[in-house]
Point group: D2
Chain length 479, copies 4
């Protein structure tokens, strides 16, 4: 059946045995590790909401592929309605978890593959689309979570893949066998790779003739032999590890680097191998979908940040300060801008040859350009509204300390109808939403760098029509 419960999801992860290092130690139990658990919980919310009647219709739909109800995170968009649902689900989830739920990237990969494998086959009569559909059925039937192995570590960025001193800085085929391929390389910023059953690998950039070995797309289980997850550090990562001052009591985010140390991929899971001219297409489709996703989840996170700012105004006794209300309006305005452009990109989508729907890339990138700048501003505004304790709030251990605790309770009291404990909790949540690097850096770099979004918006705009309109009004007749 195509829908897992949250409990089933977590238990299914428990069956996996990935190779994981974190902070210089090998991690044997991923699911119960407090740092990783908080991240898994965020992805688990995508399962949990499908169980809650209020949200079920948003999350669950029928798959015509397997003729079963499925979680939308396993469904490449087959209609405008599906495109729109992606944005609304992401906004709901962004608000629900107050961080990244980490499941969108897998769907963005599935969506890109469902377009491009078809296009490659049309040109080369390759078997990629059929293989992909086979894989997709597995994903849907088992309600799997996948993660996007897109960003190569890249080495010296002024050099193309084949110019690199060490070619392994871009993932590539090192051996082709009868039963499959062996790949080597590393993918960075693998948000949620340990919350995933599968890693879906796509190329990270345009490729040229001679770079066939880098033109690769495939899926591989997160615990495949040779695949090593190295969980990176983030600013607040010890909070969950220590178990206190977490801020967000339920959810968090983590981002490993995944090393592919000679990993075997059976042909049945290889969705592109060598078609260099489709590498750009693959990453562009993925990125466009991913930028659309951000327009949803990040506006949802601002919703939650605005809620935190407003609550803190209640707690501080500043609910009537006009200039603070103006700042909250500035936050809301930013949320609606991300959301509006992302929604519009969805409503203005169209059908690709494979039957999958694709969003309007100009509007999706318009949303993402705002994100790169405006999330930082929304965070700044939240801090401005909340006050200086975002920087230096005493620990909850101090609050519960026998000697110092009563003094903390006395002196950190705000409005008389609010307990010091609640005020401290809200400050801690604001700290988490503002200062968790695993979260905030993706506002800038998620879905490609800001410059990539700008280049895309120019390339996809109709420049000639714009010039023509101006010339007509100026009375200029081109020769």
């Amino acid at each position: 059946m195509g829908i897992k419960t949250k409990h089933e999801y977590i238990e299914s992860l428990r069956q996996l045995k990935p190779t994981v290092y974190m902070f210089g130690e090998k991690i044997e139990n991923v699911v119960d590790n407090p740092r990783l658990k908080a991240g898994i919980e965020a992805t688990a919310a995508t399962y949990e909401l499908a169980e809650i009647p209020e949200y079920r219709d948003l999350l669950v739909t029928q798959s015509s592929l397997i003729n079963e109800a499925v979680n939308r995170f396993t469904l490449p968009p087959g209609s405008i309605q599906d495109l729109v649902a992606r944005v609304k689900i992401n906004r709901t989830l962004g608000n629900w978890v107050g961080t990244c739920h980490q499941r969108c990237t897998g769907l963005d990969c599935l969506s890109a593959l469902s377009i491009v494998t078809y296009d490659i086959d049309q040109k080369y009569h390759t078997p990629y689309y059929a293989r992909f559909i086979d894989f997709l059925k597995t994903v849907q039937k088992n309600d799997l979570t996948a993660n996007a192995g897109v960003t190569d570590v890249k080495g010296d960025r002024s050099l193309s893949p084949k110019e690199q001193p060490d070619p392994d800085v871009y993932l590539h085929v090192v051996e082709k066998r009868d039963d499959g391929i062996v790949v080597r390389g590393a993918k960075a910023h693998q948000t949620g790779s340990l919350s995933s059953h599968e890693i879906i690998v796509l190329p990270t950039r345009a490729l040229r003739k001679g770079e066939e070995d880098f033109a690769l797309a495939f899926a591989v289980p997160a615990d495949a032999p040779g695949l090593i997850h190295v969980v990176g550090r983030s600013s607040l990562d010890t909070r969950e590890l220590d178990g206190w001052d977490c801020g967000n009591l339920r959810y968090s985010k983590y981002c490993p680097t995944i090393i592919f140390d000679n990993v075997f991929i059976p042909w049945q899971r290889v969705f592109m191998c060598g078609q260099v001219e489709f590498a750009q297409e693959m990453v562009a489709r993925f990125s466009a979908f991913h930028r659309q996703s951000h327009g949803g989840c990040k506006s949802g996170k601002i919703d939650c940040m605005a809620g935190a700012a407003l609550t803190m105004m209640d707690y501080n006794g500043t609910a009537k300060a006009g200039h603070l209300k103006q700042k909250v309006i500035d936050m809301i305005h930013r949320a609606e801008t991300l959301y509006g452009c992302s929604l519009a990109a969805s409503y203005e989508g169209h059908k690709e040859p494979s039957g999958t729907y694709f969003i309007d890339p100009v509007l999706a990138n318009a949303s993402k350009i705002h994100e790169g700048r405006e999330m930082a501003e929304a965070i700044r505004l939240m801090i401005d509204v909340a006050g200086g304790f975002v920087a230096d709030l005493p620990s909850e251990r101090d609050l519960h300390h026998q000697i110092i605790g009563p003094l903390i309770k006395k002196y950190l009291k705000g409005a008389s109808d609010v307990s010091t404990e609640n005020r401290m909790k809200m400050y801690r949540l604001i700290e988490k939403m503002a200062m968790e690097s695993a979260d905030t850096i993706s506002d800038i770099h998620g879905g490609g760098s800001p410059e990539a979004h700008r280049i895309t918006i120019f390339r996809e705009s109709n420049i000639d029509a714009k010039k023509k309109a101006a010339k007509r009004l100026a009375g200029i007749v081109d020769a």
Copy 2:
């Protein structure tokens, strides 16, 4: 028949005999006055495009009210598709005329009336909706243009209408007769009032008990006795009057103040009279529609400005300057932001009790807030790209002067494949799009002041849901 040609439209205006003053003189022939004609041409474009096959489907639709094809500018939205069409038509027209086409405000009034007259009738069993539908049929059958008599001159803004020393600064009933009412007052910023057949008057603000005489909505022919149009000055107004250096060779904009010097309105054209609690509703609906309209036309104007900037790069020999291309991207990004939020507001619309569709006000206001700031920035960027001659280009009279002309031609030459004349024309268009006050001030104040948009976005947002989400994550249980 419900569709006028451009020619029929202009001839129909010629039949009207409005009372008009401009620059201290009485104007007898409006249609052929060069200053006013350029504005009328902009509105005429809404008729002209309906004649051009490429645009006909965008502009023309079937009215179920009169069972005829009608121009969409006479059709209150009856579906999501109608809401979306409004934005797309406006973007097309904004790009086509490079200024304000001036016909949206009438439709925005019709749309607001089609919702609120119904609501009033539901409460008070008044006959407003039926009267309005009767008027609407006339508008559709004759493809009329209307303009929005919304903004009262307001006197001392710290005082409410009834507190004003001179009550006439808010338009109000001065006499009720058996056959109708007599009204007095003045409406400012009446863009396109002389391009219109009808003036539709709505209240400009919320009203309270005791202010019944100000709670007025009605329609009146643009040449009704006692109605006086005083065309205001705009920065480039003498260019059309003198007939050279116009910049935009086809279109322009003008904005009269209309004085209602004891104007009689028959009851059949009165759509609200005395229901103070609906005044706010009326202006809020109008404003929301109007802010949505702006998201279309202003993005279309940026399209045209980006085209002008890009053309000037060709003409100046700066087409390869990376920093200028970045500035054009910044312009395009702004256009897409206005458009995206406005489109999203349309797709997320809903049906009101009367059957008319209403847009999402939060998203519509998000678009307008951007306009207030970003149009100025888009203009600044266009000037930056184009260069200093936006300020001080010699006149076309100099270009054609026997002695100085050849020197101008020689010294204002840019890229060798472009004539000096064309380069000067493009500079002149850019000057027009950047410096025409009739146009640019409406980026800020059109559809209400920026502060109004901000207040609306806050009022229409679900503040409690935002707080609740934050508290859940912080682990706060409200008592």
Copy 3:
């Protein structure tokens, strides 16, 4: 004696017989032409203030060169105090005239020449510095106004001077004679050229070997034979010409293009001829001084705009609106930013080999980068505060019209203690300060394009010191 009265200044201009075209006509009487007169009045303010006791000490100082009191606009800075005085005078004047006073560019040229002619002489034993000092004495003794002939018309900007199809698009020597040189070319954006006694020409860009003929600096009387001023159009230029609705009742700005149609320059007035490697130096020094000047005058203009906004709040009855006050603060903040950076650039100046003081170029450019963006924003804020009548205020001819006048007076009334006439005058001034292209475009392009300011700030910063500091903290030891 070194100080002219305002009256003497205007009479001295009357003695000049420049060749002038404006709007396709030859202008014989410059001083009494209403359009040009308003600009001349702005420059005359630099003489007038020297007569007013309150400002005399600011404007007048002792010249050690001629041992007389001189107007500071004839004095290259010989001390930090002189540098600072430049900024303060400009702020005072910007506020006093509410536009550009047009006399700074000449001083900026004198200041650049007083540094670079000395440096050239040191290298080449040329006689430039002595000639310049001789010219400077004349300027000081006669309290002359000069204007900066810097910006060539440039033709195709992707080509260097010698690559141009028509070499005349960069001013150059066409003949060298025993008694002097003959030059041909054209200089654009010659703000105040008809308010000047002398035109000082500098090169507009860096030059390379082979471009010696373009490496030119000299002074020439504004009415020299062959020198033709073509006054360009600006957005509000007909207001002064018609004599009503001027907005700023006293001052305005105009910008000719000057064509040098084989103009003879005696050697005694040639300050550089052929030293290509000093061309960049010459324009860089001029630009840096000019950017510093802008930091003064433009902050003064914002002062005046803030005053207009605040007055309009009084007149509209909105003096207590918190959000409008916030916008005025945003305006003031921008003024202080321009001023602060420009002042700091002055205080941090240093002595050059010639004895002239030069400002800190990084800080001067920091000020100018802000101007390019923030003046537009300050104007937008002023319009936002003032209201929509900036776009479309009825003419003062309407106000004084027998029939329509009383109605205008009645309906444009604001606060009860303010006459309609005064309110209209203030709206008209705001329109002038916001929409006069001759003024506002120089906020962006004056002193070189925004990109030029950015490149300068990078080039003049100590990049290596910055890297070194970061490496030290990261614990990186460079090999």
Copy 4:
């Protein structure tokens, strides 16, 4: 003698026995605690630089009070040169430590006291100034560091001190004795309180009649009985505690809350007690000085961030990417803006009755308003330039791990001439400068909230002069 070495400074702190809690535990050894030590090192840099010949002249000057050489951090400004030196020292130190050096607040208190105690005495014949001078001599002779006990915890911010349910949320006198006073309350955001010998307490806001007990200024040793430092959490606080992945290998920042649990202050150290009308003056002077300080140190921090961004471009192979260079220019521009306004505020300072020099408050606040917004933007730009590893770089423990280490070294390699270790170190420093909450929140809230800066700039501007200038130009003669 008035100059301590760095070593002497640290040893002098070792003599103190403050009461300290951190993360729920009592800390007995402050100086060797790794978390606190990194902060103390930052303050120690103010001593260290005084020992380095290159910086000695910047840091050390002669005190006319004790007739000895002193560190400038003990010297209230007695000249314009002293004011300027403050900014330059802070910029140097901000760049040197890449964080907050934490010693400016004490000097800002000394500077405020040296003005206001004199003014109080002039009015009331109190002995405050003499006591203050006596204290200042001690500070200078012993080269002491002080910290600013200004920000009360404030309770419900909608209530004034005497309206609070618990009056202790504003520090106040609870007992007056012959030998001194006993005070109770708490001060938040006490940056560097454990790096200080003395805590200087000032009131945090304006006070009214009836609030005499809150109108308090005094100095108290950091280890006085009853005084409890509770070190708050900051985002990266466990990095120093664990001793790896610190980013900034030398310096950090921490911020305790200090609780005054019935602390006795002898009269000789009381500098104000009860003069409510001077409370506002005291905090305003302190804040103005502190905002000026920020203009220095924060521009220095941006210098260091720009250096880190540029270095990372070298390491990533992106040194030639034009759009990244533009972003570094945007960073530098911001640094110069803060610096320029702060410098100008200093050069435009003036002498107060006591002989101390005070800065121009409008320009100082202009600098601080920029800081509140632009530091966040500079950080965002640095992250944009550096790339995604700011979020999730593997730990240095991973780098040194036997198994995973070599793979990390291989895959995180950038440009071939840079070791992976150095690249990781630079990423870690960037993470520290971007994500350390103890640092970044003070960009917004340090020296009072952004709204406070705005109100100040308005209050201190000459509003009437601005209005008058506008009216003159509009031709308005006030009755």
